[in-house]
Symmetry: C2
Subunit: 262 residues, 2 copies
DNA sequence: ACAAAAGTGTTAAATCTACACCCATGG
DNA sequence: CCATGGGTGTAGATTTAACACTTTTGT
């Protein structure tokens, strides 16, 4: 990636808004999985108590998908992240959260935002969801005035504009596409146990799955390797570790994964 | 719908471009099914030989999804069409097809389009696909300078900008989601035969399906009613007609349709 | 009577479901 | 030696897949 420093922070926007696409923004729902819970990366402004989805505007000469990757990279240090468009939020009256943004501008930058400011124009926003390996993320805020944190998905959370709606729509999409995306490969570390994989699916589906049958089914797809290695330090029988076999996964993907409807 | 007359034609754009969103357009891939073939609605300008996907710009005070419905309505007279976003085409250099558009403008409107014209700015386009009942469509062009026709999906077709890519991506999406969307209900007329339904699936999947097993599976979902009626005038045993039962379909939808992965 | 496609039954194989039971580990 | 999950087998029910045979219709 050809990015040296963040261009998405507020300061950059204030200085030269005209380098950005005039009516399109991006919001990312970054999912992680840690200690049996789904996490989401959220940001907020120092001194304020509302949380937001990490997002940004799109540069005039920037491909929209690249913009999303750029944000992800600036935010987590990760490249080649599993990142998908899921919905364009295009309400006629959708825009930056007026009240919150005005407060932040005044407080942090000493700038008064009147209603005709570039910032207050209509923006449609492209929603992206990302699946990342929690253990590999190195959080770094997009600007000196922001914080970034992992938050539990189940806790209400973002109160900025329509970000809560966006986040839940992302979740809905993932649940919907569960048979078609490599959730496990993207959200778990290289090596993982069958239980971890199963709990991940249980969490996303919101229902318990039969341990025995889950294992059988998942292994039948034949793109997961059983390793000659076990997890140590647990207070019971140490479980076998598994890992995704990319080669085999690609083959299965071509054959249609779970698309085998008829 | 609160629309009286088309606002998407070129003339409207030329007169007052500033009522539109400055960098977002919409392109629709409208699918129909007729005589065992998948059809797509395409438009072209009188006197020119390239075809395009029907599309439009989004009004400043218009929800993006509504804009898509508006186009569909203006084009086909249909409301409440099954219409879904499928991809945002966001290349940095994506815009109106310069050459073709310039020619059309000069020839039909006597206007010279220089490179700095509003029209030549960067536009990202939201791709929508629609599934419509071929027999219900009443084609009406968006402007007096356009023609609209049903074209076979398999024939190369649109040669305007990236419209061919868009069309094929739409198809890919439908194939991908085949187990999750009511293709049959949307693309077939009220009453249809089992063969029609099967051929539809075969067409989309591009492979033959076992007649007996297809019927059994489809009926097992239990949202299709067998009617006391047969198709007449065929040169062989007249087939039973079926129709979708919306009530039952909704129930099945809630239960998860084909999402029953684990 | 024939061709063409509809309508239906059957059987073997594959998969799903729901348990049950033993195993290994740290405390 | 116990509690806690891991690992594996199995029997019965259900679903799939592949055929085959019969029926109906217009020509």
């Amino acid at each position: 990636m050809d990015i040296s420093k963040p261009v998405s922070g507020l300061s950059s926007l204030i200085q030269n808004p005209n380098i950005f696409h005039p009516g399109l923004s991006i919001d990312c729902v970054v999912f992680g999985f840690h200690e049996k819970t789904l996490k989401v990366l959220l940001t907020n402004y120092k001194g304020f108590d509302f949380w937001m989805l990490p997002g940004s505007f799109v540069l005039n000469d920037e491909n929209v998908n690249n913009a999303a990757h750029r944000i992800l990279y600036e935010l987590t240090g990760l490249e080649n992240v599993f990142l998908r468009q899921f919905y364009l939020f295009g309400d006629a009256n959708r825009r930056i959260d007026r009240k919150n943004t005005r407060d932040v501008f005044e407080s942090l930058y000493g700038i008064k935002l009147d209603d005709k400011h570039w910032f207050n124009r209509r923006f449609v926003t492209m929603g992206y969801y990302a699946l990342v390996d929690y253990t590999k993320v190195k959080i770094s805020p997009l600007s000196e005035n922001e914080r970034v944190e992992w938050k539990d998905f189940d806790s209400g959370l973002p109160e900025y504009a329509d970000h809560n709606t966006i986040m839940h729509k992302a979740m809905e999409t993932i649940r919907f596409q569960l048979g078609l995306i490599p959730v496990g490969r993207e959200l778990l570390p290289e090596k993982f146990t069958m239980s971890e994989l199963r709990v991940l699916y249980e969490t996303i589906l919101g229902k318990p799955l039969n341990r025995r049958n889950f294992e059988r089914k998942v292994l039948s797809y034949d793109y997961i390797d059983k390793l000659n290695e076990r997890l140590k330090g647990v207070a019971y029988k140490s479980p076998t570790l598994y890992s995704f076999n990319l080669e085999k996964y690609k083959q299965a993907e071509v054959k249609g994964l779970n698309t085998e409807w008829l």
